[in-house]
Point group: D2
Chain length 314, copies 4
């Protein structure tokens, strides 16, 4: 028995048939019709049908960025898509003969790490997804913490600096304004456009490419450019400080770091660990958690939401 997982991104929709061990039996990616609500729903229906063909499929899970309601039936708000208060579960179930579950993509990815990735064996785990923004997932006592209104674990919006940098959420000083890929790129551009010596390599890359993007910053990081590493270390420090606060609140056994920026590996993880230890309350009187890089690369959302759909049926 299988479930289908769908992960709707801003540019691509990934789909897969997934077994009970989180293994992909088959998969397919198509472009996202981001501005056409009806076409988007129709594409999801077709992908679920196509993935199901010839197998016993007991349910499907759909992951997307945004606020999903507590019943996991409606997409309340999806920043990259045209959906607002979209009753997606009902729409899909009306066209398919299997139950459908909707989940936030960062939650789904966290669940995948907990069930099949580096988080296996823990009961209390937190995942931070460091990409364009900072997403999060919380596993508390072996269950995904969804919150009273379905929007828990928006870890990018815990505040780290009072009266700090402005955030897209309308507040100031959110973790996302200091610890996201967007924040890293902004700092890199500032450094490139300064005349500080440690900005020389980023300046050169900017001059060559015409504009600085995540690619150039990642290149500089891979080259161990001190300027880019300094910025990555700053980012890691903010993440580590946030983990210290999260420890006081959630007391997880492990924090998993995923998302595009986590590809930097220990160059990112070491500053995270160092800042976590430095800022841990009651250090020495309590166990210290593990901080690990995510095990999945791209399929975490897919696998996680397929497994959550399976779990809801069991």
């Amino acid at each position: 028995m299988f479930t289908v997982g769908i992960d709707i991104g801003g540019t691509k929709i990934a789909s897969a048939l997934v077994d009970q061990h989180g293994q992909l039996i088959r998969e397919k990616r198509v472009p996202t019709p981001a501005n056409d609500s009806a076409a988007l729903t129709e594409t999801v229906v077709q992908l679920i049908r196509e993935m199901s063909e010839g197998h016993t499929v007991i349910g499907a899970g759909v992951a997307a960025a945004g606020f999903i309601d507590a019943d996991q039936a409606n997409i309340v708000y999806a920043p990259n898509l045209s959906w607002r208060n979209e009753p997606l579960k009902a729409q899909l179930e009306a066209q398919l003969d299997i139950p459908v579950l909707i989940e936030n993509d960062a939650n789904a990815a966290g669940w995948a790490e907990y069930r099949f990735g580096v988080g296996q064996g823990t009961k209390h785990m937190v995942m931070l997804t460091i990409g364009t923004g900072v997403g999060g997932a919380i596993i508390a006592d072996s269950r995904l913490l969804r919150g009273g209104f379905g929007i828990a674990a928006e870890l990018g919006h815990m505040r780290v600096v009072p009266d700090g940098r402005p955030c897209g959420c309308g507040q100031n000083g959110c973790l996302e304004s200091y610890g996201s890929g967007t924040a890293l790129l902004k700092s890199a551009k500032e450094l490139a456009n300064s005349n500080l010596p440690q900005g020389s390599r980023l300046r050169q890359l900017q001059d060559d490419a015409g504009e600085l993007t995540g690619n150039e910053v990642y290149t500089a990081i891979l080259e161990r450019d001190p300027g880019a590493l300094g910025l990555l270390s700053d980012l890691g420090s903010w993440i580590g400080q946030a983990i210290a606060s999260l420890t006081a609140i959630l007391d997880p056994e492990m924090v998993v770091i995923g998302g595009g920026v986590s590809a930097s590996g220990d160059l990112l993880l070491n500053p995270i660990r160092e800042a976590y230890l430095k800022h841990l309350p009651a250090r020495g009187f309590r166990p210290e958690l593990e901080i690990k890089a995510a095990g999945f690369l791209n399929d975490a959302g897919l696998v996680g939401v397929a497994d959550l759909a399976r779990k809801a049926l069991s």
Copy 2:
């Protein structure tokens, strides 16, 4: 069928026989032999026996301030008592013929509010206990969140100001350094010892009493002294800002404010609510939680731990 609840404070031990509705059948308070580990254990044993007399008692719960391990068997560290890594569960069960459960006192109080107090009907609730320190309890999906090592919900130690005021936990900028009764008293003393006009009433109370204590500050609050109200409002603002961050993490339906400082009622709750709303990420795109004063006065720990003992057996 009943359970016994024991709440070990720094100066008094409260005990009670509690029914399945959280009602106290009988209760007794005795002084805490804080510096004598053996006498303390013996007192607890006697109280459980005394409370049990003549009734069918299926278990007992013991609440204390401090770090309790994940198995709820050992008191790892209790700041006010002589216990360090004390195997309290085993010690008590060796002398009693009922199972015993150990719990952190703030967790127990939060559970009481969730089960029998203002939190009834919620599934996701947070309690903040504002006393000498700032304690916390998290109910996530109808369960007490204890964390991987048993020490979750130490909400007084989430950081609110980077490089901020020093905290007893060894860090800087913890919520407890801004939002506790101790912080309030410290601010009140500073104001009384300044020559600011809004400190005049506190100055007078200090002169009359010889020293400023929580009593004088509470008197000034009850008199609606603008100076004391300003300090209480500052405290409430920090608590409200912390709740905004907690919302991003835990998404509760309700936050319950307990502890001695909460006796100020709306004088405290209004600034909390105002700061919460001002600092809520994505305000307008999400439901807003309720902030309520605790329903229990003194018995929350007792009732909560008795009910947790009952729950563990069911």
Copy 3:
């Protein structure tokens, strides 16, 4: 004997003939040819000639926003004008037969207040000009403090929040990001676009006007709208906190508050004074300075630079 004062703003050039008591004998305002460096210089020459006609004029002073060099001869950088490293003094003196002095406009305004405005009688005075940005002037021991490179008293760029709001200067957390009219307007727009009850009046004004500008915010302030007053009070609090730090550094007898936002009078000055007192180091062990609204409305730059030109010749 008279001097001519010229104040070059982003949209208008104000000119006047000024006597030794700071009185305007005649004045004229013309549009600023902001994008034509040569036309701008020519306009200034014409205005000085016109103002001088029929009187004994011993020198002229020209004020503009920007960095003026230590010799007061060159405009190094003027954000609103086309001048970069413009040798303005030499250019003007080549066409006129009187000496010319160049000065930063905020410095000139501060000098006017010190000599003829509310600062008369002091020896140590600071002026903060709260307009689009936050400008400053420092009078130390009866002399204008110009700095080693001519760019002292850029008081809008002292830092008030580490890792704080981004500033146009490339840094984060500058006073200007919290205490300027621009910051006030930004906060007002956020409040109007929230659904907070205290934003209702600003929301209404925004709906009526299509867009919120300084005019609408000022209207709301004059109406004593609690929402707008709250924002003004926040702004004042940041200014007052900065004055407390400036006191530790400069120990002035008086701080003068000027600029467009200061038209709010005590609605702004009271929160400034309150925050100053609250944050004053060693309060009670030192005298407290006076905080006053500027005496001049629009002519401070004009009068100040004319007097500085006179002083340079005496």
Copy 4:
């Protein structure tokens, strides 16, 4: 023609006969009778007489830590001595036949650096004295900036962190709470008492010495212990950030770093310079100042106050 300089410290009084080039002709140090106001005055009289013997002495200068009034006649408040509102100038002149000038010791030290030390040739200079506290001196346009009430340049009390660490002055977040030797020692003790690996050397030194003092910390710094260097670098970073703000206010050509902690040389100066550059407003559009270690070791206060006494007479 000579002047006598007296520098009253908490434990020793240094006295010297000084010529017009800042050279010491003779000098003498005696213990400070700190708790006996009359004996202290008498000791100063005797030292001035003794230093003067056989030479033409035209005046004397007395330096002490504390608030000196604007007339330089009274010691308003001296934290380490028994003087409160002491009319020291009148008392000394009544017993001596030469004019006496009183000055704050950090101001005197700054003046010595400006006149005879590394600040020679500048017109705008700031000195930061990093010892037990953080003291300051400001030279603006070749004159010592004393302020309207005589207590300018208390640079340790500009605020660097809102709601930050408590300071002895009654405020929070003052530079002194982050950038003084006292703050360094406090951080070193915390590190030694943690179990962080980078604290191992400090822990060892603490175990050997029984207690950690400035000597042990300095030893660790000289050994290039990474833990101690990290703390020194943090301290330097706060100082550098403060200099960036001071630049916006005072625009000096040079900042001189003195005091006991400055003995660490470039180990301290490099982090200061780095942080200054990183936090400099409008970097790239303005000249950058020089940051230099003080030229004087112990005699700066003595030499400075002697020269200020000479200057007052000329």
